[in-house]
Symmetry: C2
Subunit: 410 residues, 2 copies
């Protein structure tokens, strides 16, 4: 039996550049899901697939599928998303889709069928940038999307998600029918940029990802007493803004102490003017950790710190969960294979946890899944500056292709 056909990383990079040229502008990538530019990106993807004799189809959630039948089923699926945030980067999502095309291209040119069916999935609306619901297509596939909870969403122009979906021949009432395809998939792999600074800092070109960190996102609302900045003595204030400021600093400490990440990137003061002590402060607390128990402890720490700050300043505190997701570990065996493939190509066996969510997290709910990361220059993503040195891209694409072929054969 001939050896598995190797991916051509140079062609994958060329496809990414072509996609950038066709769908980006001076402000960056504009492949906002359910828009004309996103459809153009998919049309380009269709051209690439047609070139290797494949005709994609779509599931009821708008995810695009292309399949090469193999010796056996179910399929190894490779995927990511061509949609981007507005003014986004050229690699986020697109890298994984074009790398998947690269694996399929290699097999389409081989003299035999793959040992296992091979599927490419381009997930719809991973970013949620237009309607605020991330992982749309992959969560419809996994069955965790609840159509009722998104039905009222509208974009900045007031267009409803139902109308935007209908314009793309997707019916919100039918998206969960995508779950019917779960039986077709036996494993899932995704290549993605790290979107953080760790791999670059450590000089690593590609690394296996052990899972996605869990997230606890809560609104801490402090209610004190708005009062005149000039006439209210310091010892008679109930400054909700300072209660929030002290909690923001405590939350930072919690992330450091618990070896997770913790962020307070949104703070709104009311009345929010220079001449008034803040009577109300809304602080968004975002806590992330790959271990569920530690994540719960971080939340308990943050809540205690909020209660102490409120008590100290005679404020009231209301804590409301905005969103949360449990940590999602990837499949141990696939992670080990990803680690070994990366080590073979790059010399490093680094494994890291993803602090961001990916379609692979939704896939991991229903099939064994794993990911490979490559570095992000300066850790920047979701911006036109998003980049990865070409040598790192090539190494990561090679490692991903090697991994895919090994999983196909296993």
């Amino acid at each position: 039996m001939s050896s598995a056909p190797a991916i051509d990383p140079g062609r994958v990079v060329a496809d990414l550049r072509e996609l950038r040229q066709r769908t980006g502008d001076a402000d960056g990538a504009q492949r906002l899901c359910w828009t004309e530019t996103w459809r153009e990106a998919r049309a380009f993807l269709g051209e690439l697939l047609a070139e290797i004799g494949l005709e994609p189809d779509r599931d009821p959630a708008g995810n695009l599928w292309a399949v090469i039948d193999g010796e056996r089923d179910p399929a190894l699926a490779l995927g990511s998303h061509v949609d981007s945030v507005p003014d986004g980067g050229w690699l986020d999502g697109a890298l994984g889709v074009m790398a998947a095309v690269g694996v399929l291209r290699a097999w389409s040119q081989a003299d035999r069928r793959p040992p296992r069916t091979l599927a490419l999935i381009d997930w719809a609306d991973e970013e949620g940038a237009r309607f605020g619901r991330s992982l749309f297509g992959s969560s419809a596939f996994s069955g965790t999307l609840e159509p009722a909870t998104v039905r009222s969403l509208r974009d900045a122009d007031g267009i409803s998600i139902e109308d935007a979906l209908a314009e793309n021949d997707v019916s919100l009432d039918q998206v969960l029918e995508a779950t019917a395809r779960q039986d077709r998939v036996g494993a899932y792999l995704e290549l993605h940029i790290e979107q953080g600074p760790v791999l670059e800092a450590e000089g690593i070109r590609a690394a296996a990802v052990s899972g996605c960190a869990g997230v606890e996102r809560h609104r801490f609302r402090f209610r004190g007493q708005a009062s005149h900045a000039g006439t209210t003595p310091m010892d008679r204030r109930h400054d909700a803004g300072l209660a929030a400021a002290s909690v923001a600093l405590s939350v930072e400490e919690i992330g450091r102490r618990r070896d997770g990440v913790s962020t307070t990137g949104a703070l709104k003061l009311r009345p929010g003017i220079a001449t008034a002590v803040a009577g109300e402060a809304d602080l968004l607390v975002d806590l992330r950790h790959p271990d569920a128990n530690t994540l719960a402890a971080m939340l308990a720490d943050a809540t205690s710190s909020g209660e102490a700050a409120a008590a100290e300043r005679g404020c009231e505190l209301e804590v409301e969960r905005v969103w949360s997701i449990e940590p999602i570990p990837f499949d141990a065996d696939l992670v080990a294979q990803a680690r070994s493939a990366c080590q073979e190509i790059t010399g490093s066996d680094r494994v890291l946890t993803s602090g961001a969510l990916h379609d692979a997290a939704e896939m991991a709910r229903v099939v064994p899944a794993a990911m490979v990361f490559c570095p992000s220059t300066a850790g920047i993503s979701h911006a036109r500056e998003e980049d990865t040195p070409e040598a790192d891209l090539v190494a990561a694409i090679e490692a991903f292709g090697l991994l895919a072929n090994r999983v196909l054969a296993s």
Copy 2:
């Protein structure tokens, strides 16, 4: 010679109630300057003056004057402002104007002329609530208003200040001609609510005011690095929001330590979302102290704290003065007389500094001036809940009337 005619505090309170009924609604006082409701308030003031035989006139800045000629000139002027913030309180400004009417009413009914000419001045647009320029009329009178710096101001509906003034027969090009009336005034007194919690807390019904604190208001702009909340390790962040939070807490300490007041009521984070470390933070720092040297030291402390916070987090800091005013002490002799009048009526000789600005601060630049404060329930002002217990109002009006008569005679 008969004794000076005493003010009737009950009538002053009744006039205030009538004003509230005519120009307020369920949300509070609506005497926003240069609007129809403000003109209605002035029309009511005109009725009260007509009742005692006085016909007011206006200076070129739109300030309303009513005069009772006395034995000698220049006049003792009594005043404040009938304009209010939107949804404001019934006493802020109105109290001082109606108390001035009360003093003029008593003299209009006396069997002799006052020993000194007595003037009432209702200052135009003390609040600056519509165009953002406080102390409009009194600063035109004192000559510190610079028409060029306000000409571009517009209200929330886009109406220019020039058009709003013109609608009220005031020409921005001529407002400084109000300075011509400076010669007519030899001293100025103003009764006002404290707008803070001190007098209520100390159980004091009326107190002399020694001057207005100076203000240093600066924008601290921290520039760090926006980055992903999930993928940026704690030790690789440059969180501008946390730099601002730590400075807000330091600024509080500065106010306490220097025995002034210090407030950080406005903070804007960018991008300002839960999923991103703040790359930029704008913090407004408002510092107040009656002593100029101490105020300068407070500003130096705040700037040092900002520089330290920026350095600690690898951020850049830019400090920009938004607005400042030097401390304005009132006339020592008038303050002593106010203190003695308050003590005679209330038993307390408390003297306090105003942390808020008043028309009296502008007057103090050109003539000897002083103020009397009465308590504000719960320290609340600029809101419909603004109130003062009636017994306190009566005592403060009596003290103010007594003070006016003594200054007239002195």
